[in-house]
Subunit: 336 residues, 2 copies
DNA sequence: TTTATTTACGAAACCGGTTTCGCATTTCGC
DNA sequence: GCGAAATGCGAAACCGGTTTCGTAAATAAA
């Protein structure tokens, strides 16, 4: 027989309810009884069944973190930040990986409608299917906080970074370094944050009197192999860009690989700047100039907002949008 | 009112048990009734409360993954592999990060004794406290599978890599490249796998007639800052080692940083080989020679064993130890 | 036709907790 | 010393499912 509250009650000759209240330090129970119960529970190393109490209390102590991938420095670091807060608050973190697949995302979010988790931290996947499934989750009143990849049209709390400005600064740096043709490696057509980065790119070109050319706004996918050949094609073209803005970490490192294959030197032939949270960007050959998002802090901030909602300190109507700025680390890949 | 089985029963004029059985496709229920129930459930987008059924069925559909850290390419990739299997099997993955802290690990494992998860995948933390808390979990019959960092003295299933051989090959490569003084950067004194790697290192030295010197078996901690100065001290010493074996990814990249700071050239002054699962090891400056563990496969294998146990296809007494070999990728950091 | 067997469903117990409510005792006010 | 309030605990309902068991009606066997 597992160690349940009932066993404790039997062994001590008490009622189940009395034990429950004693463990909950209820005022209804005398100090003496509390001591007896606590001592015995400790002796047995009693651990309450979390899901039994979750039924009655409507609180599971679990939160969901839904991310497109986990083997990526941004997301793994953000998860770290989330977990740090969750552990302090006594919550458990369930990880869901969508692999950038909205169908999968949909079936994942659907499960949350019925109390598997108390709240959801979501970094949305890209795709053409729209945000209906996210909207549905939000409508079913499950506490929801976006981090990094939010859905603009859903009025939940969000933790973002300054994507427009970052895109602008990245592009501006390349221009200052002498690039006249700059390509933007765009991951997905359907992510607001990538669109913001792209808008920043466009604005920087405009402000510097450079014409925006569609052929240099390169649409990539979530498939490494595809992107590899897309970038290769780009860098083999007659009017090869002199600068690349990688809108994700993978696209930046892929650019390195392609340059190696083509015998192109970074930064001499091509200058590269990437959105990346890698700790070792400075160790690359050449060291990679990055727009680095505060991944850990964003994870922490998102989790903190979620717990505010869970503890009733904030209605889901009082939404909050926090913007934590990224940092531009200038390194060798953009020239010196 | 949330959408429960009771609501469906009321609305359709059926008993709760009938609805439950209909949804479970029980033979006791007529096809017609099943159709009615299924259609109505679908219309309401009914999602059963996972934890209500977990009480009776003693199966939560959750598994725990306990790792020392997550912002590390090995662990994040292994989690990826685990999640891939779990998602197919309909299980949910709860992540726990111990930050290499056994006290934290202990309090985490303790919670599993009471049905929060159906099984545990553990990569143990280092520390001096021993394995009592893991043993206790194992004794309480919670299905447990180790991956990568196992406890030798606990007879659970394990997914490992060939650490001794890898340590041997890494060291042997450095010797072949002309190193006579080779330091082993040892992470933790209390991890079996690191000990195995170290034993391989020692054996390689022995086989090549090189004396094993204690001052070149360098004990590191889990603190980056500390390790930084430890490695710095090592590389500034009079008899600087010509080769470094980094027993973890962090120790290898830290060596790069220290070499940069000291103006030491890799591989000319110091040759470096590291245990690492980074995808971008080849992009480092210089490209890093690695012993690369099959992180994704190890995660998959561990999860697969766990699900075998959970589905009763394997007793926890029939333990299984799978060894998936690592690969040595020779790159520039060990010279050409 | 009578009896035996299926078939299809409902009532109720159960999983392990929490919470409401009722009741016997004790303590208190006057 | 008596009624009122406070104290300490137990019985039972409840959370949302699953499962066992009982039974009425329909069907099959005799």
């Amino acid at each position: 027989m597992a160690i349940t509250i009932r066993k404790i009650a039997n062994d001590l000759g008490l009622a189940v309810s009395t034990v429950s209240k004693a463990l909950g330090d209820s005022y209804e129970i005398s100090d003496e009884t509390k001591k007896r119960v606590l001592a015995y529970a400790k002796k047995l190393d009693y651990v309450p069944n979390a899901y039994a109490s979750s039924l009655k209390k409507r609180r599971t102590g679990n939160i969901a973190v839904v991310v497109p991938e986990v083997a990526d420095s941004y997301f793994s670091t953000a998860i770290n930040g989330i977990e740090a807060v969750a552990q302090v608050k006594g919550y458990h973190v369930i990880i869901y990986i969508t692999h950038e697949d909205q169908i999968k995302e949909q079936s994942i979010l659907r499960q949350f409608k019925s109390g598997r988790v108390d709240g959801v931290l979501l970094s949305a996947s890209s795709g053409k299917s729209g945000t209906g499934h996210v909207r549905e989750l939000f409508a079913s009143r499950v506490p929801l906080v976006f981090f990094d990849r939010a859905c603009e049209d859903i009025e939940a709390s969000k933790v973002l970074t300054n994507d427009f400005e970052s895109g602008y600064r990245a592009t501006d740096l390349l221009i200052k370094k002498g690039c006249e043709i700059i390509a933007f490696l765009r991951m997905s057509e359907n992510l607001d944050i990538i669109q913001d980065r792209l808008d920043g790119y466009k604005q920087a070109l405009k402000d510097n009197g450079i014409k925006i050319a569609k052929e240099y706004i390169v649409s990539c996918s979530s498939q490494d192999a595809q992107n590899h050949s897309i970038i290769k094609k780009l860098l083999k073209s007659a009017h090869r860009p002199q600068g690349l803005v990688g809108s994700t970490e993978k696209l930046a490192t892929l650019s390195y690989i392609v340059c190696n294959e083509l015998g192109l030197s970074i930064p001499r032939h091509v200058k590269v700047i990437g959105f990346s949270s890698m700790g070792i960007a400075s160790l690359l050959n050449p060291s990679l100039t990055t727009i680095t998002q505060p991944a850990f802090e964003m994870g922490k901030a998102a989790a903190t907002i979620l717990f505010k909602i869970l503890n009733g300190k904030k209605t889901d109507k009082e939404r909050e949008t926090i913007v934590i700025p990224s940092t531009l680390y200038e390194r060798d890949s953009t020239g010196r």
